[in-house]
């Protein structure tokens, strides 16, 4: 009796709880350009939205399905190319409105994943990862060999405002493009979220956890993987269509291993274990990429270092860290952690500052040897990389920082264990 009562009451309240975050997200998407209206900010927001869709599609495989796709950019790239050709056709007078281009990209992604999936879906784990990598390399080579179709190294471009106007919008201005891109991104994210709650979505988790057992419950695990691969390709292709709109150019670089590596990094940094994790990762890494990219050319080193640190010490990513602390903050035990967490801060800051100093000096030195300009500050200090002193300072900072971390981190971890262990009992 009580079971049926809870059954009838749960759906309505959980429905509200489920969709409230989405309403807030929609609101956020709508007002962001009103707050940050500069051209740079709007371009940044578009990139974040595209990266978020791409990372979510990647996590359908990695986090939800347990499949490590090292060639996932293929589906974004080929979807993007197809959307680009559609945009060119629109420029030539075909009636293809710009907001429909992501659908073209999604179609391209589905078709390619349906073909690629035939090759990869039979394998699991390492073999799966290897095959996706090889397949991607082959496709990049193919793209470069067909310059009439893919424009060679330069890629192909078109004009997003050259299509038919819709309600007086020609989508040429950044803000109009932003609303097209962000609306699609939001819709795609919602659809991917709903997918996790379908039978196929749940099957993907089952195949991740224990593919063999799925086979003894009447399902062919290879078929499940194949279907998920196609859905993942769909949303990657859609992200490609969005990128075509935003950049008005797609090149072979959008297909290659760099792009595939970038999405892996984002997804992992954000966290693969939650739905929102890849979005967090996409937003942060894109922000870092564009913000740091204007300050230093070495930002990719930092990106890589952050990735390594996350893999080693926070394999659940940022969303994993949040998940581990949310219950403690809610029940007030979070405050118990604060002192021990604060004690790790000096070591943290020192280690980061020292490492950044070393990287920047190495980069500067290399640039000076190559005929670049001398002088200028490193980390707000007038450090000359051609002298010994700043190197020693940076090296000492790094070493001391790491030593401090080694001393202060275990008690912080212990405090967390103690606090969260207390809640379970």
């Amino acid at each position: 009796m009580s079971a049926t009562q809870t059954m009838s009451t749960v759906p309505t309240s959980s429905l509200a709880r489920t969709f409230l975050p989405w309403l807030l997200a929609a609101l956020l998407v709508a007002v962001m350009p009103q707050i940050f209206g500069s051209g740079f900010a709007i371009s940044l927001l578009c990139r974040m939205a595209i990266a978020a869709v791409f990372a979510l599609s990647f996590n359908m495989l990695m986090g939800q399905g347990g499949m490590m796709d090292f060639g996932h950019a293929v589906y974004l790239g080929l979807g993007g190319f197809l959307a680009m050709h559609a945009m060119r056709a629109a420029n030539a007078g075909w009636w293809i409105p710009t907001p429909a281009l992501p659908l073209v990209g999604a179609f391209g992604g589905v078709v390619m994943a349906a073909v690629g999936g035939l090759v990869v879906a039979r394998s699991t784990r390492t073999a799966f990862a290897m095959i996706t990598m090889g397949l991607a390399e082959a496709i990049v080579a193919l793209v470069l060999m067909l310059p009439r179709l893919f424009g060679g190294e330069e890629g192909i471009n078109a004009d997003r405002s050259g299509g038919p106007a819709v309600f007086g919008w020609d989508f040429g201005s950044p803000i109009e493009a932003y609303y097209v891109v962000s609306s699609w991104a939001l819709l795609a994210a919602l659809l991917m979220f709903l997918f996790t709650r379908t039978p196929l979505g749940r099957l993907s988790n089952a195949v991740r956890d224990n593919a063999e057992r799925v086979g003894f419950l009447g399902y062919d695990p290879a078929r499940v993987r194949y279907l998920i691969y196609i859905f993942s390709g769909l949303f990657a292709g859609l992200a490609g269509g969005l990128q075509a709109i935003n950049d008005e150019i797609i090149t072979a670089a959008n297909i290659g291993s760099n792009a595939a590596g970038a999405v892996l990094l984002m997804t992992f940094i954000g966290g693969t274990g939650t739905f929102i994790g890849p979005v967090i990762g996409a937003v942060l890494v894109t922000l870092m990429q564009m913000a740091l990219g204007t300050v230093t050319d070495a930002w990719q080193i930092y990106n890589g270092l952050i990735f390594v640190i996350m893999v080693l010490w926070a394999p659940g990513g940022i969303s994993g860290i949040i998940l581990a602390h949310a219950p403690l903050v809610r029940n007030g035990r979070g405050r118990l952690l604060l002192p021990s967490y604060l004690r790790t801060l000096p070591g943290f800051v020192l280690a980061i500052a020292g490492t950044v100093g070393l990287c920047e000096m190495a980069y500067r030195l290399q640039s000076i040897r190559g005929g670049g300009p001398r002088g200028g500050n490193i980390l707000f200090l007038p450090a000359d990389p051609e002298t010994v002193a700043p190197w020693v300072v940076a090296a000492v900072m790094t070493t001391v920082g790491i030593w401090l971390l080694a001393v202060t981190a275990p008690p912080a971890r212990g405090a967390w264990m103690h606090a969260s262990g207390g809640t379970q009992a």
Partner: protein
């Protein structure tokens, strides 16, 4: 007309490389029968299960389900034809909750298939079956716990649950009570008896109490051969069985 046996193994051989694990195994399980397979460690009991459920290919011989040849079919085909199984080494979906494990277990049978256009929660019969199973297994309070974090006995209960939740006609349980306490074993046996009512059960079990309590027939496997097969009373008295396997255990039972 004679009703064909639920499960019939004809001249089944299995070798891994040069090692013969099963040699000319003949077992017939009548429909509705509870049939136990016993034998010392390494006798090939689990291998036999793997052959029946399509995990390994046979080296020779044929397997029939209700008279239909299922030799060489894939494990998912064999499941669809009505054979479900549990594993000796617990094999669950560790990151999914107990409830979700059971839902996945019944999805294929209750029509959800590979659906991606409809939410899982909309499949009412599926939810009801999972709820019903939770109650049967006594796991209601653990319903939202990830299977990997369950206590061992609860994991074993869920292991049985995954095998029976789909309502298969023929159920193969591989050491269902291994590692359970006396009390948990009693509960598991009661559960197995209840859910296999009117179905065919083939069970591998080391606990002789459970075997003689549950089984209508017993087959004894030793060195890859069936050395005896019959009702519990016959098997207990069989001298070959005594020397090969039962020994002291049988003494205490008689």
């Amino acid at each position: 007309m004679i009703r064909p046996a639920a499960l019939q193994l004809n001249g089944v051989y299995k070798s891994f490389g040069l090692v013969d694990v099963l040699r000319n195994v003949e077992i017939t399980v009548a429909a509705g029968e509870r049939h136990a397979i016993i034998g010392p460690n390494g006798a090939g009991k689990s291998t036999l299960f793997h052959l029946i459920t399509g995990r390994f290919p046979l080296s020779a011989g044929r397997i029939y389900l209700h008279g239909d040849d299922i030799t060489g079919r894939s494990s998912y085909d064999i499941y669809r034809l009505g054979i479900a199984r549990s594993f000796q080494v617990t094999s669950l979906f560790n990151r999914l909750s107990v409830f979700e494990n059971l839902r996945v277990g019944a999805m294929r049978v209750l029509g959800a298939g590979h659906a991606w256009w409809r939410l899982l929660d909309r499949y009412r019969p599926l939810r009801e079956r999972a709820e019903e199973m939770l109650e049967m297994l006594g796991l209601e309070e653990r319903r939202n716990v990830p299977a990997g974090l369950l206590a061992y006995a609860d994991q074993r209960a869920l292991e049985i649950g995954l095998a029976i939740v789909g309502g298969a006609n023929t159920i193969l349980l591989d050491e269902p009570t291994a590692g359970m306490s006396r009390h948990e074993t009693e509960r598991a046996v009661a559960l197995i008896r209840k859910v296999t009512e009117g179905r065919t059960l083939l069970v591998v079990e080391h606990d002789m109490g459970v075997v003689f309590d549950l089984a209508d027939r017993i087959s004894v496997l030793a060195n890859g051969n069936v050395i005896a097969s019959g009702p519990p009373s016959d098997v207990r008295g069989d001298p070959a069985v005594r020397t090969a396997y039962l020994g002291a255990v049988a003494e205490t039972l008689t």
